[in-house]
């Protein structure tokens, strides 16, 4: 039960919790937070896999994937928030 595997399992649990969050919640902001958590969960699984390599230095490819993933996740979140802001303003104007 190496720590890498443990963190991968934590990541898997995070994905599961986030999946529940995405579908059980109804406010878009909460679903967005759940999605971000799901991303973190997936990245945990990814980096957990990197550590299982027998060699001393961890495998850098998952690290690069996670870095790219984080930036992509944050851009998507930013756009989703802008969309939510715009939606609520339009809802307010249209009454």
């Amino acid at each position: 039960m190496s720590s890498a595997l443990w963190f991968s399992l934590v990541g898997a649990a995070l994905v599961a919790i986030a999946l529940y969050g995405v579908f059980a919640e109804h406010h878009p902001l909460r679903r967005l937070i759940a999605l971000n958590m799901m991303a973190s969960g997936v990245f945990l699984v990814l980096i957990g896999l990197a550590r299982q390599l027998p060699g001393r230095v961890p495998d850098p490819v998952p690290h690069a994937m996670v870095l790219t993933g984080i930036v992509v996740a944050v851009s998507a979140t930013a756009f989703a928030l802008a969309l939510l802001r715009r939606l609520s303003r339009v809802q307010q104007e249209e009454g």
Partner: protein, 485 residues
């Protein structure tokens, strides 16, 4: 030389999008069309070289996989790249005047349509060419974001609501897909599709990856249980955008799933899981058509028709023969052309009449005979009647299904085309009844030719596909996955 063309197919739209962003708003509309034309430039020579000398492999950065990223331009990729270009040109011609006409109606989308569209185009080209799974993930995200932004151009409350729901689900689906890719990397040690084939053996990890990747891509490809985001998004988006979404964007994830399924999972012996997808495809055809029948407005009707037609594309997973594979891709091409024509024509109708209720269509064809003629032609291809491309695809699909004695898909295909006739009829019947409204003047204002010709061109392409079906099929033959041929 052809390696450069492959890379240009993806980079050129990006570069032009960047340049468009630097240009002031007014300029963008004028430069948009020329940017679209320029982006098509690398395609003909690439098509020529792949047609003659087979697959073009590009190892980016000079590093061969498993370290580096590879792009593969095989027959399948070229067919889809050509399809995208064939839709892009008429669509570009239509989008300019359409958004200008809408600028008067209060929308300001024209300025932002072009850069977003070029980003989307670049992501589509990338998805068709990608041989690296993580690279495909980034392509899916790029495409997803651009598509949602284009839907949100609609500006209205329901357009934004549909866009937000589409975005949340697209992100969720990408996460599932990435998780599947992570597991594959964990088991196979590489992200390259071709290399993974040899390194995986059928364990729990690859089975889990199968489930996750299929779930993720089916959700993005709007297979029936996950289709609820599509009708509102495609119906509320501006017409050129709905045409893009229904014709190309919703198909790219499916093409990726086809590649992964037949190059990776079937060799591992997971082919049996295809029965579930085919069953869902059958349900999609029937459920989508029935819902389309119930719609009272034009664009939701056409959007639900997309849900139904997507069902055809999932039938191949259980049949799993070379014939079914090429039939599915031919159907994808025929549907893309016909649906793009239909959505643009629907956009014209709504623009001229001012409202998109079916009941207000009476006598509308007087002002715009060409648009309703396009609806007729596109309808012919969607119903799969000769001489359209839809008919050839239906013919091959039926043949593939009958070869294995699978009666459920056969009945679904036939019922689907009859139902298509049923739900397209309300649109068609007004195409020919030229009787004027009781008030004597024609229902809507007549449309300029610039708006009516592009959809007609697309509809004619759909019919031409029927006559020249042997070309795309020849292009597809060498690209057929090994397990199928």
């Amino acid at each position: 030389m052809s390696e450069a063309l492959v890379v240009l197919m993806v980079l050129l739209p990006l570069l032009l999008a960047g340049m468009l962003l630097l240009a002031p708003g007014g300029w963008r509309q004028r430069m948009g069309l020329s940017a679209t034309l320029l982006s098509v430039a690398p395609l003909p020579p690439l098509l020529w070289s792949v047609w003659h000398s087979g697959v073009v492999e590009v190892a980016l950065g000079g590093w061969q996989p498993p370290l580096g990223i590879a792009l593969r331009a095989d027959g399948l990729a070229l067919l889809l790249l050509t399809l995208t270009a064939l839709i892009a040109l008429p669509l570009g011609l239509h989008a300019g005047p359409w958004f200008r006409a809408h600028a008067t109606v209060g929308g300001r989308g024209g300025e932002w349509f072009w850069p977003l569209w070029l980003f989307l185009w670049s992501s589509l080209n990338l998805l068709f060419l990608a041989a690296d799974l993580f690279n495909a993930y980034v392509g899916l995200e790029l495409g997803g974001l651009a598509a949602v932004a284009l839907v949100a151009l609609g500006g209205g409350r329901d357009a934004l609501q549909a866009a937000l729901r589409y975005l949340l689900l697209a992100l969720f689906a990408s996460m599932l897909y990435l998780l599947g890719v992570a597991l594959l990397y964990g088991a196979g040690g590489t992200l390259d599709l071709a290399l993974l084939g040899g390194r995986l053996e059928s364990g729990v990890a690859s089975r889990a990856a199968l489930v996750l990747i299929t779930l993720g891509l089916s959700l993005k490809g709007a297979l029936v249980p996950f289709h609820f985001w599509l009708p509102p998004a495609h119906a509320t988006a501006p017409a050129p955008v709905s045409a893009l979404l229904s014709a190309l964007v919703v198909k790219a994830p499916l093409v990726l799933l086809l590649r992964i399924w037949f190059e990776l999972f079937v060799p591992l012996g997971f082919g049996a899981a295809g029965e579930v997808l085919t069953l869902l495809g059958v349900v999609a055809i029937l459920w989508g058509s029935l819902q389309a029948l119930r719609q009272q407005r034009i664009k939701p009707l056409v959007a639900w028709s997309t849900v139904a037609q997507l069902g055809y594309l999932f039938l191949v997973f259980a049949i799993a023969t070379g014939l079914a594979w090429s039939a599915t891709l031919l159907h994808l091409t025929a549907h893309a052309l016909a649906k793009a024509a239909l959505f643009l024509a629907a956009g014209n109708i709504v623009l001229a009449l001012g409202d998109d209720r079916l009941s207000s269509l009476r006598g509308a064809s007087h002002g715009m005979p060409l648009t309703f003629f396009t609806v007729g032609l596109a309808g012919v291809s969607l119903m799969g009647l000769p001489p359209s491309g839809g008919f050839v695809a239906k013919w091959l699909l039926l043949q593939a299904a009958l070869e294995q004695g699978r009666w459920l898909p056969v009945v679904a295909i036939l019922a689907g085309s009859l139902l298509a006739a049923a739900y397209l009829f309300p649109l068609l019947r007004h195409a020919l009844t030229g009787t004027l409204k009781p008030t004597g003047e024609s229902a809507g204002r007549s449309l300029p030719l610039r708006l009516e010709l592009p959809p007609l061109l697309l509809a004619l392409l759909a019919l031409l596909l029927g006559v020249l079906a042997s070309w795309p099929l020849a292009l597809l033959k060498p690209a057929m996955p090994v397990v199928l041929s």
